[in-house]
């Protein structure tokens, strides 16, 4: 929470929590519109109580004038529909925070809140049942109190609610409107008049933005890059990509198949890619483990394929709804044998769009598997971003058609070339018949175990990465240019790192931050970054330090890197990173 004047906020985190079905998400969505209209950036997460402590349903939004892209670790304003909500989220309350508590089911749990909280106890559920005969309307009541606390004019709160509930039948809308006014009336009783709340929201002028999740942005990027074939098997937290493309691809002449398993999904995508269509599949760790054989096959057979891994806590079925970054070793080294692959890692929704576009293009250019590594937080949380640049050229790669083919004396599918990429003729092209196989093969695609051919073909495939290294998505750098201390991280560590670097600068500790967007092959700029700093903290969500190991293997000096890690399903907070870094730089 940042307070600009005595009671005016330009950075506020609001949580609404209760049992599933309490309507927490609706309240957060409506509040998001109010914040957005005042120029706030939004970062919105569902089921975030599970992010804080466990399985209780909650929705959370952080609104901030500065772009944050993540939470700051504490909650300023909590609407708690039950005691459990207070028990779970209470300990995360910011100093001076406000709790609006539904006491219908019992008293405020003792000892769950830090000292100095301001608590408004409202029997939402009882009032809703008594006056409106349905417990269901308590979220509209709560919205009325919440908007009063934030000094949002009643008329605006009502307009946003009418907008947001527009799809409900008129009678239901009317009851919700009445419930909202009950909320206002309660606020009156508590001495919070219309427009005169405890806090006010600082308004600023901002350009129009999108509020979008990483999964949705990635699906859109795939479509815009010319992707027309998608396969997937439902899995948390990747399913929204499947759902989004099921909705959009048919209108563009594309096909989405929900496969019977991940083995089918990856092989079906490969089969489609053989025809020249841009194909993608998406999954999470357990599914990716099943896909390994297919992905290695695409590497060996030189089939362009994009694979999205929305990482969640492993091993095995792990913690399906929790983010982690522990698939990195599988992404970089997984599968039997050795083959070229690229691993890209977006650090937010805008990156998800951009790297989907880039990934489709790279797969096409290099004729190899390209991974896009998300995590549960990047995949499923929504944030505000600038509208995407949709004017994207569709990458053609080395595909040649009938005319170009006819001008050649001969055609070899796996022609050995300087950059390792062979001209590609797809089935149906007159005169271009060729053989494609995952077995080791000669230039004609015929299976071969000849040692000299083997050396030639291994080198040919490996050259594709060497040749492309300079064209892969660049890292994003921020913070101080002449700092002795650096931080490196990807995915959902990026937002807290960026904010921590800002706070460290305020504390007089200059730090440089780097977000590699290509993880494999390890870009020279990342190793150079480590070399250029006395110490670089490698921030990652896993136990073994997979990114750190990758950097060291790529040449980063071991005595210049230190790991900051956690793998408990909780995101780093900026404050925690500040403490860790301040605590360690002195050593």
């Amino acid at each position: 929470m940042t307070v600009t004047t005595a009671s005016t906020l330009d950075d506020v985190t609001v949580a609404v929590s209760g049992q599933g079905g309490d309507g927490s998400l609706t309240v957060i969505t409506l509040l998001g519109r109010i914040l957005s209209a005042r120029g706030f950036h939004l970062y919105s997460a569902r089921n975030v109580a599970s992010r804080i402590k466990g399985g209780h349903a909650a929705a959370m939004v952080r609104g901030s004038h500065a772009y944050r892209g993540g939470l700051d670790g504490s909650v300023d304003l909590l609407v708690a529909f039950d005691q459990e909500a207070v028990e779970r989220i209470g300990p995360s309350m910011a100093a001076g925070g406000i709790v609006v508590f539904d006491g219908s089911g019992g008293a405020l749990p003792a000892g769950s809140l830090p000292d100095g909280m301001r608590v408004f106890e409202v029997p939402f559920a009882r009032m809703a049942v008594r006056d409106l005969r349905r417990d269901l309307y308590k979220n509209s009541l709560a919205f009325g109190v919440l908007t009063r606390v934030l000094s949002v004019p009643d008329a605006e709160a009502e307009a946003r609610m009418v907008e947001g509930l527009g799809r409900l039948p008129a009678a239901l809308q009317e009851v919700n409107r009445i419930a909202l006014h009950h909320g206002f009336a309660y606020a009156d009783d508590q001495g919070i008049p219309d427009g005169g709340g405890v806090w006010a929201l600082e308004a600023t002028v901002a350009p129009e933005r999108l509020l979008i999740t990483g999964n949705e942005a990635l699906a859109l990027g795939f479509l815009v890059a010319g992707g027309r074939f998608f396969t997937g098997y439902p899995i948390t937290p990747a399913s929204e990509i499947l759902e989004s493309l099921q909705r959009h691809l048919p209108r563009f002449g594309g096909v989405t198949v929900q496969a019977e398993d991940e083995l089918s999904a990856v092989n079906m995508a490969i089969g489609a890619a053989l025809t020249g269509v841009r194909a993608m599949t998406a999954t999470s760790g357990p599914g990716l483990a099943l896909m390994q054989e297919g992905i290695g096959h695409a590497g060996s057979a030189e089939v362009p394929l994009v694979i999205v891994d929305c990482q969640r806590a492993g091993p095995s079925t792990g913690m399906p709804t929790k983010p982690e970054q522990s698939d990195l070793a599988m992404l970089v080294h997984g599968g039997n044998g050795e083959f070229p692959r690229v691993v890209l890692a977006p650090g937010g929704a805008a990156d998800c769009f951009e790297l989907a576009v880039a990934g489709v293009g790279i797969a096409r250019r290099l004729q190899c598997p390209v991974y896009i590594a998300l995590d549960q937080a990047i995949a499923q949380h929504a944030e505000t971003v600038a509208p995407f640049d949709l004017d994207v050229p569709v990458e053609g790669g080395a595909m040649i058609g009938g005319h170009e083919l006819a001008a050649r004396a001969e055609y070899r599918r796996y022609l050995v070339t300087a950059d390792g990429v062979s001209p590609w003729v797809v089935p149906g092209t007159p005169g271009g018949m060729n053989l494609v196989t995952g077995n080791e093969h000669n230039e004609w695609g015929q299976v071969s175990i000849d040692p000299e051919n083997r050396r030639t073909m291994m080198a040919k495939r490996a050259r594709k990465l060497t040749a492309a290294a300079g064209d892969l998505p660049r890292a994003v750098r921020w913070g101080s240019d002449d700092a002795e201390v650096g931080v490196i991280g990807f995915g959902f560590t990026v937002a807290p790192m960026r904010e921590a670097v800002e706070r460290l600068a305020d504390l007089g500790v200059p730090v440089a931050g780097l977000q590699p967007r290509t993880l494999w092959p390890v870009p020279a700029e990342v190793v150079d970054f480590v070399r250029a700093h006395r110490v670089t903290f490698v921030v990652e969500h896993n136990d073994e330090g997979q990114l750190l190991a990758l950097l060291v293997a790529a040449g980063a000096p071991l005595d210049r890197v230190r790991g900051i890690r956690r793998c408990d399903g909780l995101a780093f907070t900026p404050g925690e990173l500040v403490e860790r870094i301040v605590g360690e730089v002195g050593r």
Binding site: L223, R228, F229, E260, A273, T275, G431, V447
Partner: protein
């Protein structure tokens, strides 16, 4: 004329049933007058998984057990192709049998030739899920892919041939190609194709096959009748062959083909999707 790969000679042992399958497939393709550049043969892993190298078409060597999803991807992405999946009984009835069920359910426009020799030939003679067709005395019972297909209401074409009866096999494969190419969907042709080295079933199968094509009054459009006939023939210790079932709904063929859909001038359509996310 651009020179491309030279089709290979088969790797199979002299006398292998697969020669009969390849010969019949080549003839059926010739009869259907499909140019080789419009044909994509995808094969699995095993002795059968080399047939794609031999016919001068586009060829693809899929992972073990995964030829059906791969071929489904190809058929859905470019329905203009004549897509043929090929593989053995280990590939299709053991490691890949789950995909067979779902391919019946999906009914894509492709022909699947499953060369059943009741053994794993390439790995030197281990028992396959159809091994009881050759050695009925084991603990495990055999798997009958035709009965399996009949039990799935969405199957549209089920035939069993025998490489020892090439004329019929050409007919069945030709009908399968017509079915897939003509919009009928997934054509499944199991071929009894003996392995002379590890499981020589010629003598057994020659005596065991029972040709439903020759049975007066047999109606391949009657699913229940087909099921009853297959059970009856199996009950007599014989193996039903012929055009066993053909019917049902149309196949799935995307139009336009995702592989050749126009990708230009779509910015406004993309923007409409993006605008739904504006706040």
């Amino acid at each position: 004329m651009t020179a491309t790969y030279t089709p290979r000679s088969p790797i199979w042992c002299a006398g292998c049933g697969h020669f009969g399958v390849q010969g019949a497939l080549a003839r059926a393709l010739r009869d259907a007058a499909v140019p080789v550049d419009q044909v994509m043969i995808l094969a699995g892993i095993g002795c059968s998984g080399t047939i794609q190298n031999n016919l001068g078409t586009y060829g693809y060597h899929a992972l073990h057990g995964r030829v059906l999803p791969t071929a489904t991807g190809t058929a859905l992405a470019d329905p203009s192709l004549t897509v043929i999946a090929a593989g053995g009984d280990g590939d299709g009835y053991a490691i890949g049998v789950g995909h067979l069920v779902h391919t019946f359910r999906r009914n894509p426009a492709l022909t699947y030739v499953l060369m059943n020799n009741a053994t794993y030939g390439l790995t030197k003679g281990q028992g396959s899920p159809t091994a009881p067709l050759a050695r009925p005395d084991g603990d495990e019972q055999g798997l009958d892919g035709i009965l399996l297909g009949l039990a799935i209401m969405s199957s549209t074409f089920l035939a069993r041939g025998y490489s020892g009866r090439p004329e019929q096999l050409v007919r069945l494969l030709g009908a399968g190609l017509d079915h897939a190419r003509g919009g009928g969907g997934f054509a499944f042709v199991e071929v009894l194709s003996p392995c002379v080295t590890y499981q020589d079933t010629y003598p057994i199968w020659e005596a065991a096959v029972y040709d439903l094509d020759e049975e007066p009054g047999y109606d391949p459009s009657d699913r229940a009748g087909a099921y009853a006939a297959c059970l009856r023939v199996a009950g007599e210790g014989r193996i039903p062959i012929g055009m066993i079932y053909r019917g049902g709904r149309h196949g799935v063929r995307p139009d336009p083909a995702p592989a050749s859909v126009d990708l230009t001038g779509l910015e406004d359509a993309y923007r409409a999707i993006m605008d739904a996310y504006r706040v």
